[in-house]
């Protein structure tokens, strides 16, 4: 029996998968997308914290020293992201890391080089500029506190249909109102309109050489049970001339590690140099009286704030420390953010005594939940993360439906810790100036909690530290590309979705050229979705 063949297999359907899938399908290639998660309809995105609802498509993955939040559904993390759509500052592309010797990004890549691709993504999603009328209360409080401390603060550009948005603050659960511009609303339907197939619940296990003449790679997958992803309902293979890995930074390096023998080896940089994007979350409990008397805020008569739960999760951000004149590791974005109460286990209670994150004092703190404010510092880490040997199947071990464990370990080094200390100090200075509130650390989890897993299979010019060429091709494996967050060389000091998307757009041109050379009738440089 012959194996199924197709021009292009795309592993994953998030930003990194949907964008090249669209470009190649629109260019004329046959495309199959394999997605390990389920396909959710808009009405499936319930406003519900009951385990078994959002946990069907949001994974919390525990590593050693790091916890990662990632999407697990058609549309990938774009379905559960908070839609902050920011371009990486210019200095990011010149980062050298703590070695200080060699630029980590390919020489061909600068902010100016990427700007046209950012433009294209912003027009396609599309990205909206929030005015101050659009910034929810929590973002307003952060902006006013920044101003009070002598800092600037900007409304954050969002991939959100602002008039349609209800400010429900349930973005981690997807968007019930089709207001958040995930891949479900743009690139994926456009790819499907050009014939691309999306196959949910197909978990890719291995990439190896094809057996069909004229095809390069065989992709082996299992079909998982929708009610328990640990149970296998079937298995299969598909062969392709081009394979695009976009399983996310928690998936792509693991699949490639497992495929090393079958592929005749993979670069040593696969599974190394992981970055949690320098994410550093902390929070404040605010003094409502001071918000009124010092900042002049009033939400309704007699109430200054008490609105932690209202809004879009990301409202405002200070760009003051995104300054290329500052030393590397001392540059960071400071962003107001909201997480649902599933993260309430994490903040310290503020007493400085044990126990720090549970017990009587923590409960007392929780009674002021509406006066909390969460701040995300997006710092420059040093790509210290390393994946251990891959598990037998899957991207990580699902110990229980709600407990996933990865072989990833992360130990922040002195350079990263310096960035965390600097950003902590700046947030504390802003929050505690004039007694606006009390700055509290997140101590109830791993040292690093990231919703922005990056690198571990990155583009670059140095084969020792980058698994991919500047065109996103895996070194030593012609026609095998990586276009997801794992290809991003460094932390970005901003939320990474727009950069992942822009890089995927840029890579799509090179992939299409490679596909044409492999005999696929495909045109490079097709119009963006909706623009033709």
């Amino acid at each position: 029996m012959s194996v199924e063949t197709v021009d292009v297999v795309v592993v994953g359907t998030g930003f990194g998968g949907a964008i090249p899938a669209y470009n190649l399908a629109a260019g004329g290639a046959s495309v199959v997308m394999l997605e390990r998660g389920p396909e959710m309809a808009t009405e499936d995105f319930a406003h519900d914290l009951q385990v078994g609802t959002y946990t069907r498509y949001v994974d919390l993955i525990n590593g050693d020293g790091v916890q990662v939040v990632a999407g697990n559904c058609v549309g990938g993390s774009s379905v559960v992201y908070f839609a902050a759509s920011l371009r990486a500052p210019s200095f990011v592309f010149d980062r050298t890391g703590s070695t200080g010797r060699r630029r980590l990004w390919p020489a061909a890549l600068t902010r100016a080089e990427l700007d046209p691709w950012y433009d294209r993504v912003e027009e396609t999603l599309p990205v909206a500029q929030q005015t101050w009328d659009d910034v929810p209360y929590a973002g307003g409080v952060w902006a006013a506190a920044c101003r009070n401390a002598g800092h600037t603060c900007n409304p954050v550009p969002l991939a959100v249909d602002l008039p349609r948005c209800t400010n429900c603050n349930w973005m981690l659960s997807g968007c019930r109102f089709d207001a958040k511009r995930s891949m479900l609303l743009n690139y994926l339907p456009a790819a499907r309109a050009h014939g691309a197939q999306v196959r949910p619940l197909h978990e890719v296990q291995l990439v190896g050489p094809a057996t069909t003449p004229g095809y390069r790679y065989r992709v082996d997958y299992t079909v998982v049970d929708p009610s328990d992803y640990r149970l296998v309902q079937g298995a299969g293979s598909i062969e392709a001339k081009i394979v695009i890995m976009a399983a996310g930074a928690m998936g792509t390096p693991v699949i490639l590690q497992r495929s090393a023998a079958a592929l005749g080896g993979v670069p040593s940089a696969v599974g190394r140099y992981f970055s949690p994007n320098g994410d550093r979350v902390s929070m404040a409990v605010l003094d409502e009286e001071k918000l009124g008397s010092v900042l002049g805020l009033e939400r309704e008569p007699g109430v200054a704030y008490e609105a932690f739960h209202i809004g879009k999760p990301i409202g405002s951000m200070s760009y003051d420390f995104l300054d290329g004149r500052l030393p590397e590791f001392e540059r960071f974005g400071l962003q107001q953010i909201y997480f649902p109460s599933i993260t309430n286990v994490l903040p310290e209670d503020g007493t400085g005594a044990e126990p720090q994150w549970f017990g009587v004092d923590k409960k007392t703190l929780s009674a002021r939940w509406r006066s909390w404010l969460t701040v995300l510092a997006l710092t420059e880490d040093d790509n210290e993360g390393v994946f251990g040997p891959p598990p037998p199947t899957g991207n990580f071990v699902r110990a229980a439906p709600t407990a996933s464990v990865t072989t990833l370990s992360y130990r922040p080094n002195a350079a990263t810790l310096r960035g965390w200390e600097r950003s902590d100090a700046e947030i504390r200075a802003i929050i505690e100036k004039d007694g606006l509130g009390r700055h509290l650390s997140w101590v109830g989890g791993q040292p690093s909690l990231s919703a922005h897993p990056l690198s571990s299979c990155r583009i670059g010019d140095d084969p020792a530290t980058s698994a991919l060429t500047s065109d996103h091709e895996l070194r030593g494996s012609p026609g095998l590309f990586v276009t997801d967050g794992s290809a991003v060389p460094t932390s970005l000091t901003v939320n990474p979705s727009l950069t992942i998307a822009a890089l995927a757009e840029r890579a799509s041109v090179a992939i299409a050229r490679c596909a044409a050379e492999a005999g696929i009738a495909v045109t490079a440089g097709v119009p963006a979705p909706g623009s033709a």
């Binding site: 009951q50 307003g140 209202i310 809004g311 407990a403 464990v405």
Partner: protein, 222 residues
Amino acid sequence: MSSDAALSRRRLLQIVSAAALTLPLTGLRMPAARADVLPRSLDAETLTLEAWSDTMVPGEKRSPDDRAIAGVAAGPGAVQAGAVDMMRFGPVGLAPAVPALAAGLNAEAVRYAATVGVLPDPTVPPFVGLPFEHRTGLALQLLDTGRPDQLVWYGLAGIAMLAFHTAGHLSTPDAVRSGHPGLAWLDFPQPDADGLWRYPVFSYRRRLARPHPRTTRTGQPA
């Protein structure tokens, strides 16, 4: 062999051990009603899990002779919020391991008591028999990130806290409407009639800070 590789193998073993806790039972296809909470009784296991939950989010005693709840804080705690129900809630995936975890807590309580020189009340399970400060002391030991089994105890702690802070074993709209003690403690807002949240009024609608001078035309950092 590098120490990195050795560490990774150790880590993998930890993961497999954690998985072994629940995986042998995953082949059991529970009926559709598996999401239902298992029967609850005030047996030694339940008392132990309640005492652990009360250590995480302390509450007031349900009655003067309540043994599981230490009664060190006013208002409801994790027990009242349904922590033990959540530990046994099918979709969480911990239910098969719950008896072993309760037994483990009691074994650890015996070890702890001997180490610090306290005598647990012998009329109740050892963890329940510890005074509150010693329940906390043991919890701090079990939740120390240096322990190889820390992830297991962290999971049990997390569920107790999630029961209080999210009512994770219940439909959130239903839980809020029915006055779930934890969500009420947070002053979690009420949903609209259709079980969804919407905030038509959400912004101060004022310019509250000066934007960065190098902001691009489209609001981006330079």
